[in-house]
Subunit: 203 residues, 2 copies
DNA sequence: GGAAAGTCTGAATGATGGTTCACTTCTTTC
DNA sequence: GAAAGAAGTGAACCATCATTCAGACTTTCC
């Protein structure tokens, strides 16, 4: 044996992989999936196109990793708010607001995650993550029903509706942002989300 | 001059174009946009690939026409229900139901129109049609507010939420239909839609 | 230092699929 | 029926990328 990966070398490779994913995410956020060619991504990461294949078996695998990391962060944040302290209705409102605010603060990425045309592998991943959003919302809705704060309803359907509603409401603002209207938009959106779940109007 | 298009010839050409669009729509409904290659579509229409270009300058133009026709029908039907007779809340419920029912009856096409990955030109068209759905819903919501049947709210936001909610709720059933659960699904969906707009729960 | 085992490079390769075009077939008009 | 003008054909063309690979360069370890 004349070569074994030293710890330093291993972490160097991991860092390189990481850097590639980070830069690829930036490229996707800027130009969308369709324009994020292997060459463009490799250039952004400062490596040759062929080197991408040292870290990922295919472009699709890299794209999936980019999606998973970015979407995973959002699921995590949303989950923390929805499972956090407070009454279910308040958490639902806060979760909606936090989700929307984060999307508006990182529009390119949010659009890529939510709506931008993507290759099939990413599309499948998107479906999976939407299911996770739904599961998070459904849990809170069920809590709300159990606590008597929300009327009886099919929590799964409501959760799907919330996911779709929030996404659709954000599409236009993500494309053509109006900084001044952000707070009003968030207020209207959370209000609509609460109505959607059947929360009684705020006094 | 030795040749001028006779009326019969003109209508034959129009019919051929029409036939191409119809068959292309079927192909898209069956296999999705990505798999609907020019060759596949031409084969389905019984013509050569090159002949497609007698009717459309590009594949994208054909795809847009397919989308417009199919989506246009849905907008028309929805518009008739939403602008039809009855109180605004009832029309909203009925519109939601009709839209969902039609989608479930023609799942492949509905999926292609609502969610399936598509080339940019079709994506742009999709955004446009979503805007039309929103406008239709927004008008009814405004009517409901004016009539005192719905609470004050930003009708545009609610309309976007309705569009997104209905679409998202349908995605799973479109992919994995459960014939037995259709009526329950429709009831839950219309219920959620009404809550979304703030209609008081049915007694 | 040097051999072994990697890593990195970037031009060549290959697959895909839209588009073109020389040619054939059909319609019109006289 | 024959010339002129279209429409229809489908194999060839071409552009676009993802992917590969032979060679250059690095790191490890004796």
């Amino acid at each position: 044996m004349a070569y074994r990966k030293t710890p330093a070398e291993i972490s160097r490779l991991e860092a390189a992989r990481d850097h590639l994913v980070v830069r690829a995410t930036e490229v996707v956020a800027e130009v969308g999936w369709a324009q994020a060619s292997v060459t463009a991504v490799a250039d952004a990461a400062g490596i040759a196109a062929g080197s991408v294949y040292q870290h990922f078996p295919s472009k699709a695998a890299l794209a999936v990793e980019v999606f998973r990391r970015a979407a995973g962060r959002e699921v995590e944040v949303l989950g923390e708010v929805l499972h956090g302290p407070g009454d279910p209705v308040g958490r639902l409102a806060r979760g909606t607001e936090v989700f929307a605010r984060r999307a508006l603060e990182n529009r390119g990425l949010a659009y890529a995650l939510l709506a931008a045309p993507a290759e099939p592998a990413v599309g499948a991943e998107r479906l999976d993550f939407r299911r996770r959003y739904r599961a998070l919302f459904a849990a809170v809705v069920r809590e709300g029903i159990a606590a008597g704060a929300l009327p009886p309803q099919n929590a799964e359907i409501t959760a799907a509706a919330l996911t779709g509603a929030i996404g659709e409401v954000l599409v236009d603002p993500l494309a053509a942002p109006d900084e001044n209207a952000t707070e009003a938009l968030l207020a209207d959106l959370t209000g609509t989300a609460l109505r959607c779940a059947g929360a009684p109007p705020a006094t």
